[in-house]
């Protein structure tokens, strides 16, 4: 025992240790792979630049065309509104699925079964045809007097039919994502909240959902980007102002489909990229309290306290080790 102690003491000195300068492992395969990719990429760029069939002048002509920009706007509006409907319904459906009331559970299950089980294209056509099925919408007492009488055509024009069709269909998928998220939160969180006298919806809303969001956000971002492109199906309603329909129309007029497909792809990529930036910040927000190792550096109060702690223990560096120190007592 005394020997090991003294030998340990002898190696603890103020002298800087000889740092290891090892020869790193070589990776020749990486260089070969990189070379192959560079060659392929160069070929692709060359063909894009030199193949006249791409008609880049037509792309340039239409990329900022007023109709195209409006198409981007309508596509974005469809995406945002249908996702708002879908997320709101999904939260409700997921809560219902967790409910103790069997009627709520079964209703939620049925909704998901129905809207996930039929093609979105079919659903969009259906919403476009609702006015044929129900020319008038009447609010009133069953078998009693009518309170409100509306033309379906006025209430549900093509745009809202498209939003509704996309939103209801998406709600079924999102409900499953939200359900998985809620389930991912440890049951102990519910028990702790219950033991404090909280209950039901408030526990879901304040304790479970915020922690579930960490799991929910990435696949929901996926779905949002998917939705952006699913909006191209709204011609089934028919709604004819979205990006895909507009560029198709322009392509048919100019007999040049390829540059206008590229125009559409270009704008879808631009919007997707913006959505991904948004997703990054949402993920960061809901990741709080979890990415703990990085968090200490961002949490000023924590940093202050940790600094005070480490000076007390004569540890010069503020690092993640502070979280396992008990020295503050």
């Amino acid at each position: 025992m005394s020997i090991s102690t003294s030998s340990r003491n002898s190696s603890v000195t103020d002298r800087k240790p000889d740092l290891i300068k090892a020869v790193p492992v070589r990776h020749p395969g990486r260089w070969v792979g990189a070379a192959a990719i560079v060659v392929l990429a160069a070929g692709a760029v060359q063909s894009l630049a030199t193949n006249p069939n791409f008609h880049w002048e037509t792309f340039a002509l239409y990329a900022l065309d007023a109709n195209v920009i409006q198409g981007v706007g309508w596509t974005l509006l469809l995406t945002v509104l249908s996702m708002i409907i879908a997320v709101s319904l999904a939260v409700l459906l997921a809560f219902m699925r967790q409910s103790e009331n069997p009627i709520y559970r079964w209703s939620s299950w049925f909704w998901v079964w129905f809207f996930r089980g039929t093609p979105v294209y079919t659903q969009l056509i259906f919403w476009g045809l609702v006015a044929v099925l129900y020319p008038k919408i009447t609010l009133g007492v069953p078998f009693g007097p009518d309170l409100l009488n509306l033309n379906t055509q006025d209430l549900l024009n093509a745009f809202w039919a498209a939003v509704l069709g996309l939103g209801l269909n998406e709600s079924a998928y999102l409900a499953e994502i939200f359900r998985a998220g809620l389930k991912s939160v440890d049951r102990g969180q519910i028990e702790a909240a219950e033991a404090l006298g909280m209950r039901g919806t408030r526990i879901m809303w304040r304790i479970i959902l915020p922690q579930a969001m960490r799991v929910i956000v990435p696949p929901t971002g996926n779905e949002t980007i998917g939705m952006l492109k699913t909006t191209s199906l709204v011609l089934a309603v028919p709604f004819t102002l979205d990006l895909t329909f507009v560029t198709n129309t322009l392509a048919n007029r100019s007999y040049l489909p390829i540059p206008l497909l590229i125009v559409a792809a270009f704008w879808y990529l631009v919007v997707t990229s913006i959505l991904m930036v948004g997703q990054h910040f949402i993920e960061k927000h809901y990741g709080r309290g979890v990415e703990n190792t990085a968090r200490i550096a961002f949490n000023p109060a924590a940093l202050r306290a940790a600094g005070a702690t480490s000076s007390a223990t004569q540890s010069p560096s503020v690092d993640v080790e502070t979280r396992i120190e008990e020295s503050d007592r």
Binding site: D186, G188, Q189, E191, A192, A193, E194, A195, L196, G197, M198, R199, G200, R202, R206, I207, P210, Q211, Y286, R288, G289, V290, N292, R295, I296, N299, A301, A302, A305, A308, T309, R323, I324, E325, E326, D328, R329
Partner: protein, 270 residues
């Protein structure tokens, strides 16, 4: 293994003149066919610290969780402060309480869990003020002031803005105790509060619990810490197989167990 619980009367002493806060009468609990609690009688006087020990699977945690109705009982009665927990008795029939009423009963019963169960997305301070603000409708500023006092009391005044993941197990458990105290409970339940902790962190948590006991809090503690039971407990109850095998003043039970099973258990944990 019949339900012939060998119940000794709980500790006499200075607490005897005070009324009973917790009253457990002939409680049974089934999980399906599994008979977990087989007729438990127990009472805890106001200001008393009752310690429950026993091998795992003996039903001690289940009993504790029945006291705030996290588990419902299958037979018997549990009363806290003269009020039946989880049910209302009317014309000789039991009616289940509405969730709202159960939540109201739980407000006055603090609970500390083995795995802390701090809200992961909230800082220590936010964890503590959550229930006072949301359930009791307290204003944020005074609730925060109270929370900081409680953090100071458990020795974590400088950890208010830390997230649970940034705290050690011992620190998390002390925040969890502060969180329960913020509701001003008249009874505190501890479900193996130190079992998930590294050995060197157990002492701090027990210290906080000791202070709490000294302040007159009524506590029911499920634990394996025999030292704590001897030093802080007013009564010690040994459970095995869903029955109370033996109960009495901790010093007596530990030094001079009357029952073979108690002897066997104590010889293993001491």
């Amino acid at each position: 293994m019949k339900t012939s619980a060998h119940v000794l009367s709980p500790a006499a002493g200075n607490a005897s003149s005070q009324p009973e806060l917790v009253n457990i009468e002939a409680v049974h609990k089934f999980y399906g066919d599994h008979h977990v609690l087989r007729g438990i009688d127990m009472s805890v006087k106001r200001g008393e610290v009752a310690v429950l020990i026993g091998p795992s699977g003996s039903g001690k945690s289940t009993l504790l969780r029945c006291i705030n109705h996290l588990e419902s009982i299958s037979a018997g009665r549990i009363k806290v402060n003269e009020e039946l927990i989880g049910y209302r008795e009317k014309d000789g029939k039991l009616h289940e309480l509405h969730a709202k009423e159960i939540a109201r009963q739980r407000r006055d019963i603090g609970m500390v869990f083995q795995k802390f169960n701090l809200f992961g997305h909230k800082t220590a301070l936010q964890n503590i003020i959550e229930a006072p603000v949301q359930v009791k409708g307290q204003k944020r500023v005074p609730a925060e002031r109270r929370a900081l006092e409680l953090l100071d009391r458990v020795g974590l005044a400088n950890r208010a803005d830390f997230y649970p993941a940034q705290l050690s197990g011992g620190q998390q458990q002390r925040v969890a105790i502060a969180r329960a105290l913020a509701m001003d409970p008249e009874l505190m339940l501890f479900d193996e509060p130190t079992s998930a902790l590294d050995p060197e962190l157990v002492g701090d948590v027990l210290e906080v619990m000791k202070d709490l006991a000294k302040s007159g809090m009524t506590m029911v503690v499920v634990t394996h810490e025999i030292g704590f039971a001897r030093e802080v407990g007013d009564t010690l109850t040994f459970m095995d197989g869903g029955v109370v095998v033996e109960s009495g003043i901790p010093r007596d039970v530990i030094a001079n167990p009357q029952h073979e099973r108690t002897k066997g258990f104590l010889s293993k944990v001491l």
